[in-house]
Amino acid sequence: MTNTGVNTTRPPLGLALRSLLRSDFLVLLNSKTSLFLSILLPIVILVANTVGKGQSRLGGSSLVIGLALTLGLLTSGLFGYTLALAHDRDVGVLQRLRITPAPTWMIMTSRVLVQVATNLLASVIVVIVGAIAYGLTLSPGQYLLAIAVSLLGAAVFLSIGQAVVGLVQSTSAINAISRVLMILLLLLGLLGGTGILGDTMKTIAAWSPVGALMTLFADTLNASSWSGQDTNALLACIGYVTVCATIGVRWFRWNSR
């Protein structure tokens, strides 16, 4: 290793990316919270609802599965990913990575890819468990569509999280903001969507990240035909991703001082 004279060649990018992906995956696997948030929590919601006969209260099995999927994506994106990134910035893990010849986009991309892959895997599991628990039969096309919507959802919440880490420096502030944001988004999407807060709130809710995703998930699982509401939801999601990711990348700082 160190007897071939001084090394002056550029390292290959493929090897660097593979090494990053492997280590980011191991990090995720070793962190119990993120696994709990992305897989266990949604399943707990599914199971809790079959036990409590909550179908009527929450409005049908597709809605419950949609909620479980959305919640898994929301918590793991806005909580798991965001806090891990803030922490690594705080303690200098990112600085250490940044002095290697790996391009900075690659360091970020690897983290995001691993997170998205975990989210998709979690979504597949949740849909399967949900279908079994509620006796739904889904076509392969519906599974594919559910995965596609999950991908969109993962992108939405990771971008929102990235924007928070980009705009806020302190880890404890990020922690607090993420919690509040999570609760707000959930309340808005769920309560607003029921119409008990009035028609204006209902419209806002439909365009909110949680509301838009719940619409898309419900329509996918019900095999409803594509509606204007779905188009709006899709547009809303694309909008959130574009704006938040831009903010999150543009203002992101690698060090905490």
């Binding site: 290793m1 160190t2 007897n3 071939t4 004279g5 001084v6 090394n7 002056t8 060649t9 550029r10 390292p11 290959p12 090897l15 660097a16 593979r18 090494s19 990053l20 492997r22 280590s23 191991l26 990090v27 070793n30 962190s31 690594d88 303690v91 200098g92 893990v93 600085q95 250490r96 990575l97 940044r98 002095i99 290697t100 010849p101 790996a102 391009p103 690698w254 060090n255």
Partner: protein, 263 residues
């Protein structure tokens, strides 16, 4: 000791010219210039807050200089950042690795990032040379301070870099490990690597450095071989006033940088 062993025509390994580093408008490194040749060990000495780490950060690409030129092996740090980073091995003043990864996984990650393919067995073998073979399964936080330093140095040298930047590499090491590190540094030099290190130990500077520079308040005060510096400043009244007997490198250091304690 050998210095200036450059092949004719090849650029210095490091050339720092008129470097200025500022944080939020406050200048902490001001017009610093020096060069390091191939196979040379260069020591940067200075009190706390003098600007040593900031100088290294600029070379590492962690902070953008407000002014000045930085060339590593003739490559501009700002224009070819990734090519420069591939030439550098870095041990930061305080290292931080992913808390969830084992030592073995950390070593494999950084090997890959620097383009070195290491199997698990190869990692184990090379970890034996730095006395960490029994700690492979541990997390970074579970290592002792000295073991953490050894791991950081191991990772800094994993790709046999042209220029090694070591920020207080022997801080917190016992005398045995310190001697071990000095030996390792000299080994690396004999393989053709150049080393820029910072230290607060005058003994260390004299033992391993071919040349040293003293920096304070961001300004480079003097530079030369340790023996040259003593000679050059031995009649300076500030040095004489702090010397007990014949002036030492430490007397020169305190004479030039003052005796008050820095925050």
């Amino acid at each position: 000791m050998t210095s200036e062993v450059n092949e004719p025509g090849s650029p210095p390994v490091l050339e720092v010219s008129q470097l200025r580093v500022a944080y939020d408008g406050r200048t902490v490194v001001d017009g610093v210039s020096f060069r390091i040749q191939r196979g040379e060990i260069f020591g940067l000495l200075g009190p706390n807050g003098a600007g040593k780490t900031s100088t290294l950060s600029a070379i590492e690409g962690l902070v953008r200089p407000a002014w000045g030129d930085l060339l590593v092996d003739g490559l501009d740090v700002e224009q070819q950042p990734l090519a420069v980073k591939a030439l550098l091995g870095v041990q930061l003043q305080s290292s931080s690795f992913q808390a969830e990864l084992s030592i073995q996984e950390i070593a494999r990650l950084y090997a890959g990032l620097y383009g070195v393919k290491l199997s698990k067995d190869q990692v184990r073998d090379s970890m034996r040379t730095v006395g960490l073979a029994d700690e492979l399964g541990k997390k970074f936080k579970q290592l002792s301070g000295g073991q953490q330093q050894r791991l950081a140095l191991f990772i800094a040298t994993i790709h046999n870099p042209l220029l090694l930047l070591l920020d207080e590499p022997t801080a917190g090491l016992d005398p045995q490990s310190r001697r071990g590190l000095w030996r390792r540094i000299e080994e690396l030099r004999s393989e053709g690597n150049s080393i820029l290190l910072t230290t607060h130990s005058m003994e260390e500077a004299q033992a391993v450095c071919d040349r040293v520079a003293i920096i304070d308040h961001g300004i480079l005060l003097t530079e030369g071989r340790p023996s040259e510096l003593i000679n050059k400043h031995k009649d300076d009244p500030r040095v004489l006033s702090v010397a007990h007997g014949a002036p030492t490198l430490e007397d020169v250091f305190i004479g030039l940088t003052g005796s008050e304690i820095r925050d």
